[in-house]
Symmetry: C2
Subunit: 248 residues, 2 copies
DNA sequence: AGAATAGTGTCTCTTAGACACTATCGC
DNA sequence: GCGATAGTGTCTAAGAGACACTATTCT
């Protein structure tokens, strides 16, 4: 099997981003409106070409910063604002009608951003509940068209990855601001899984898991009711035993 | 952000294969010896270029068949001989000294094959315990060189995927022949995890998980001792509750 | 006071893990 | 018989889930 790298079929390599956050008790994804054909005017995932001198995660972090201003997580960088990981790669020969494009999709988990539509482009970038992107309903703000290219499939894979990964890792904290309460963390789980959890058992579970939460000493009553302790994410990345998703 | 697919940097796209099996109570991977520079004479993972008209899984299945004769699993194809899934994509700019190559790695889980070195090329293809490939010891048959390119990293990622995935899925059966005993399945877990499991609790656990194992009615005493019931893999893919890996 | 959220205690039921014991083969 | 593997029963400790109860804030 001769291996001649100068005789290869021409490929373009892109990164696409599934950027998830929790807004108003719903799991939302970042979508951009396409300005040119194909799929002009349709919503799509943000993304772009990988440059000649950057690696895949670097390209994804650059696109994320261009689109949202967020800085993604270099491994071990605790000042980062968002979690970024590779999701999967999509390379069907006809996924882009123009030419052969292989897209390396990445998953980003971010806390709710103050600016609803980041960047200046309020008209062409938005957060949308993932259900409305996956099953377009044809209402005023949700066009009846599905996402461009195979982005619906990519988004579905990213959502499923996020749903399963918060079970056995501490990644749910990536949806929270640097300091958060147990109740806020519980509402993240409820939004991502679409379930209702018992607040008392949840509290006992997360505070009893070593390394998951570290109390900061402060309290807040921003949710109303009795003031709650503030926590930040602990060092643990794998939860053992895991959080259990109901109904499964 | 103009999106011009005709002005893209030149990429080559390959698939690399982490093919795992259990042989003589050890987790083994398929390695091929490189015939040309770079890394001439070193061991590497099997793989090759993605052709212009095939998708990524198709390219991986073709390479697998060329290398081992195995037919990989099309989704839902129960006559397939091996499980194939996408693992991750590796695209550091300097991972191949010749040019920019993005490799979409795939993970294959296969039962032990009758032919120790498949294909005619007994000298350039072999099964090797994953530890000897990941930490070359410099003995007679294990050269002290690590795998070519970033294949050591890819292999390590594949092994970790296999180890974690047999916890919560029925994938361990992919390492078994079509009919197998509970003891044989237990030895798969023991080899992949490198642990010793209690045969009695294991038996109770796997036979008590609905959809995991289906008795075929036959028995065998090929392991010695009291004849054991034969099973085949059931329809369940996700195990709930999962198998628990000790010491974690 | 009443409503809301935070946090603790207690009970039950399921399950993992340890291990005694029986069953059925080959030698 | 002896040693191997197969398979069942039993006990204990830990955790999930249900839910009563108390604590502290805001309106």
């Amino acid at each position: 099997m001769p291996y001649d790298p100068s005789a290869f079929p021409p490929f373009a390599v892109t990164v696409d981003l599934v950027v998830l956050t929790v807004r108003r008790h719903a799991l939302c994804a970042l979508a951009v409106r396409r300005g040119e054909p194909p799929f002009q005017g349709r919503w799509a995932l943000p993304g772009g070409f990988v440059r000649a001198d950057e690696d895949l995660a670097g390209a994804a972090a650059r696109e994320l910063n261009e689109e949202t201003g967020l800085r993604a997580q270099d491994p071990g960088d605790h000042t980062a604002e968002a979690h970024l990981e590779q999701l999967a790669t999509y390379g069907d020969p006809d996924r882009d009608p123009r030419m052969r494009v292989v897209s390396v999709a990445h998953l980003v988990l971010a806390p709710d951003l103050p600016s609803p539509t980041p960047g200046g482009d309020a008209d062409s970038v938005r957060w949308a509940p993932v259900e409305s992107l996956l099953q377009p309903s044809g209402t005023e703000e949700d066009p009846p068209e599905p996402l461009a290219f195979d982005h619906g499939r990519i988004l579905a894979d990213g959502v499923e990855r996020a749903r399963s990964k918060i079970e056995y890792s501490s990644l749910a904290t990536a949806f929270c601001p640097p300091e958060f309460t147990v109740g806020e963390l519980r509402r993240v789980y409820e939004a991502v899984w679409g379930v209702v959890l018992d607040p008392r058992n949840f509290h006992r579970k997360v505070t009893g898991t070593p390394g998951f939460l570290v109390p900061t000493g402060g309290t807040t009553s921003r949710q109303g009711g009795r003031p709650a302790q503030l926590f930040r994410a602990g060092g643990a990345t794998l939860l053992n035993p895991p959080m259990l998703r109901p109904d499964v």
